[in-house]
Structure formats: structure tokens, C-alpha cells
């Protein structure tokens, strides 16, 4: 389908069963949807674009906080400002992205000067850009209004849907993970003092299991099966311990109270693990089998300003000083920054 000129209030909205080409702009309040690809030769304003294939906007997107593009394929735009781009395959931006939300299961590439200022990037793959962030943090500290330029937040290594779901669950997950760590420490402490009725082999095994409570990171790297196996082993040992315990209403000997304490902390460790596994299974049922992309990286060709917040997988880094060209990637559970070089990009 060919639309010669603008999609505006006179033309009305566009809905097409195949590809669409618009030779002009898509004006505010309008929508263009197509089962195939959409090509817009002008500008997309505060409009809605939905495509079953790729979307290409030759000029750019000036979304005024309401513009959005959603594509099952790749999104390619000249620039984007105050808009949301959501693509399954990847996002390519010609020059700059300002105060926008960029979501993709693939990579985000900002070509040219590669300016990324304000907003959120959530990608399962890599981000490649030139100048990232702004001097706003220094200006804020001097009293400038925060609404002029937003914070720049980059989250890589997980599909956006999964990231959002985990962020929603994050407060409870954090509590469960914290409870698991505390219970694990208590179990290790009690075992180190010795608990009558717990043999050496069981004690060693429990200490091992207590050292690594299940966390979201554990699940993403080792998988749900490994986590469930850990908790099944805990359940099995705990059932043995509880079988030795008298009714709580009976008078306990000191021997039993040590076993009771161990049982209680083991049970809390089990419950915390179980909660984290349940959330993960809930996410899996929504999204299939999400996996952490450990090789996701942030390539900043030119400059990264203080105040940029970066998350890769579950590791977080707040950039606290002006940096030159750098490559940020995961090393174990931490983000490390290396000097930018074409070689580093080539190797990736």
C-alpha cells in the first residue's frame, strides 16, 4: 500500500494486510499498522506505528512523549526523541536518541555521532553508541531542573519483557534472596558448632547447599532444573531432621533444641529458594525459557558521562566519572570496563 503524502487528520489512520510505504510524515494522534513492513520517508510525530515486519523511518521520530513504534522485525530510524521503540530483532538509529525508551531482544546500534542522551535502553544483546549520557548530573548538582534531560539507563543481557517482569518482582525477590542468604549463614554457623544427630557427611553437604542459596542470577546461569534439584535435596534432608523432632509442645532437651534450630533455618532457606524458583517458573511460563546473554556488552566509541547507570545481566555499575571510549562487559558477576578499540569490537 502506498500513501502519497502525510498520514494526518485528513487522511485518517492506516491499517494494511501487507507492506505500507508513506512518502510523507505520520502526524500526531494517527496510527499506521501493517502485517508486513512499514517505510516512512518523513517524520513520525506523537503517532503509533505497529508492524509485523520491519519499520524504517528515514527522517526520524519526534514522539513528544507519546510516539511509539513496535515491530516484530528490525526498526531503523534517522533519530529518535521522546518516543518508545520496541523491536524483536534490533534497533538501528542514524544519529541520536534522546529521552527515549529503546526495547529489543536484539542489539541497539546508534551510528554517526552515536548520541544517547537520557531515557532507557533495554536489550538482550549489545549497545553500540558514541557519546552516552550528559553533563546533567553536574548541572543537577548545581541546581538545574532534572526534567530537562533524563537520566540515562542501560540494561543489557536479558529480553526486555523478562527484565520488566523481574523488576516488578524485584522487591519481593530481593527480600527472598536476602532471607535465603541469612538462613544459609545461620545454617553454616550452627553446623560449624556441631549439631548432635547430624552426621558428618550430611553436615558437609548441608554446609555446601547453604553456601549458595538460589537467586535470580543462579537460575539464569544454572537453570531451573539445577535450582529445583538443590531444593529437593534440602527438602529430603529436612524431612529426615523433622522426623527426629518431638512435638513442639513437649519439653525439648538441649540436644533437640539444636536440631530444632537447624531445622528452622534450613526450612527458611528452603522456603526462600522455593519462592525464587516459583517466580522464575512464573516468568518462564510467560516467556518460554529465558536465558541470560552473558556476552552482552556496551560499546561506547567516544565518551561516557558520569551518572550513566548500566546493568548487564544482574550486575550493576553506576558510572562515577567521565570516561573515554570504553567497552563494558561481564567478567564473572561484575561489569568491567576496557579501553575502546576496534579490535575489541571485532572480537565480540
Amino acid at each position: 500500500m502506498l500513501v502519497e503524502g502525510n498520514v494526518d487528520i485528513r487522511y485518517g489512520d492506516v491499517e494494511a494486510p501487507a507492506d505500507v510505504v508513506v512518502t510523507g510524515d505520520v502526524r500526531s494522534g494517527r496510527s499506521v499498522s501493517a502485517k508486513g513492513s512499514i517505510t516512512i520517508q518523513g517524520v513520525v510525530e506523537a503517532a503509533t506505528i505497529v508492524a509485523g515486519g520491519d519499520v524504517s523511518v528515514q527522517h526520524g521520530v519526534a514522539g513528544r512523549g507519546k510516539g511509539s513504534i513496535s515491530a516484530q522485525g528490525k526498526i531503523t530510524v534517522g533519530y529518535v526523541s521522546e518516543a518508545k521503540l520496541d523491536s524483536k530483532s534490533g534497533i538501528v538509529i542514524g544519529s541520536s536518541a534522546m529521552n527515549s525508551t529503546l526495547l529489543t531482544d536484539g542489539d541497539v546500534v546508534i551510528e554517526g555521532e552515536g548520541v544517547l542522551v537520557g531515557g532507557v535502553v533495554m536489550a538482550a544483546g549489545n549497545l553500540t553508541a558514541g557519546r552516552v549520557g550528559h553533563k546533567g548530573v553536574d548541572l543537577w548538582e548545581k541546581g538545574a531542573a532534572k526534567h530537562i534531560v533524563e537520566k540515562t539507563t542501560i540494561m543489557l543481557g536479558l529480553p526486555p519483557k523478562l527484565r520488566k517482569r523481574l523488576m516488578e518482582s524485584r522487591p519481593q525477590l530481593s527480600l527472598a534472596e536476602k532471607a535465603g542468604r541469612a538462613s544459609g549463614r545461620n545454617v553454616q554457623y550452627l553446623l560449624s558448632r556441631g549439631v548432635p544427630d547430624v552426621d558428618e557427611a550430611t553436615s558437609e553437604r548441608l554446609a555446601f547447599l547453604a553456601k549458595a542459596p538460589v537467586s535470580a542470577a543462579f537460575l539464569m546461569s544454572k537453570g531451573a532444573k539445577a535450582a529445583s534439584a538443590v531444593n529437593e535435596e534440602l527438602r529430603f534432608i529436612l524431612a529426615d531432621i523433622v522426623a527426629e523432632l518431638p512435638s513442639p509442645s513437649k519439653v525439648s532437651t538441649s540436644e533437640h533444641s539444636a536440631l530444632q534450630d537447624l531445622g528452622l533455618h534450613l526450612y527458611h532457606l528452603f522456603a526462600a529458594n522455593d519462592f525464587v524458583i516459583d517466580v522464575h517458573e512464573d516468568v518462564e511460563s510467560l516467556l518460554g525459557s529465558p536465558k541470560l546473554n552473558k556476552s552482552a556488552a556496551f560499546y561506547a566509541r567516544d565518551t561516557v558521562y558520569k551518572g550513566v547507570e548500566l546493568t548487564i545481566g544482574f550486575a550493576e555499575l553506576a558510572v562515577d566519572q567521565l570516561m573515554g571510549g570504553a567497552v563494558f562487559k561481564l567478567a564473572g558477576d561484575e561489569i568491567v570496563a576496557e579501553h575502546w578499540s576496534e579490535r575489541a569490537v571485532g572480537e565480540a
Binding site: 527480600l175 522426623a243 512435638s247 509442645s249 528452622l264
Partner: protein, 127 residues
């Protein structure tokens, strides 16, 4: 009076019990003697009464419920106590009742419970 009966009566006296239908999640945790657990461990239960020491559960005569016997362990999850995470309580079946052809009842004592969890239940029961 046998020791066990005396003990049961003592427990009955120890905690104030209140009839209430509390929404709880219940999962079979273990059967005595490491009997193999069924793949489906969720139990569809309703609470008949509750105390800080335990609760009385009612269920239909489902295959999972039919397997419950004295000594079986049940893993409870209670979300309605206002805590940010569900409260988890491990209980042991101390008595099985069959009040009718379609119903089973299980008296369960909490075997692993912290003083603060017991206090939360006491306050719930007292309200």
C-alpha cells in the same frame, strides 16, 4: 489416659483456637519413611480452625489427600498476614478424621515456627 492423649489435650489447652477459613496454600512436603511423593503435591484445603500451635484442615477425598497420614509433613504458605513475603509454616499431621464420605480432616501441629510467626497467628486469632 495415655501420654499421647494427655499431650493432645495439653496442646489443646496451650493455644487459643478460633474457627476461621484462612486462605492458605498447602503442599505435601514429606510422607513418613521417605515414601515417594506424588508428582502433584498441591493440596486443595480449607482451614476449619487455627491456633498458634496448629490448625485443623478439611479436604475432599482426593488421591493426594488420601495419602496423608499421621506423621506426614505439610508446607503451608500464608499471604494474608500482611507481610511482604508469604509466611511459610511446616506442619505435621497428628490426627486424621473422616467426618463424612466426601471429607477428610487433618489436625496439624506446626513443627517449625518462629516466635514472631506464632505471635502473628496469635494476633490473627485474637482479632
Amino acid at each position: 489416659m495415655s501420654n499421647e492423649t494427655a499431650q493432645t489435650n495439653k496442646q489443646r489447652r496451650d493455644f487459643f483456637r478460633r474457627e476461621m477459613a484462612l486462605p492458605v496454600g498447602a503442599k505435601l512436603f514429606a510422607l513418613p519413611g521417605h515414601t515417594k511423593l506424588p508428582p502433584e503435591r498441591d493440596l486443595a484445603v480449607r482451614t476449619v480452625n487455627l491456633s498458634a500451635g496448629g490448625l485443623l484442615l478439611a479436604t475432599g477425598r482426593t488421591p493426594a489427600a488420601e495419602r496423608l497420614c499421621e506423621g506426614a509433613l505439610i508446607d503451608f504458605s500464608v499471604s494474608s498476614f500482611g507481610s511482604p513475603l508469604p509466611i511459610r509454616l511446616l506442619g505435621r499431621v497428628v490426627r486424621v478424621e473422616k467426618p463424612g464420605p466426601d471429607e477428610l480432616r487433618f489436625a496439624v501441629e506446626f513443627i517449625l515456627i518462629t516466635p514472631s510467626e506464632a505471635d502473628t497467628i496469635v494476633r490473627k486469632v485474637a482479632l
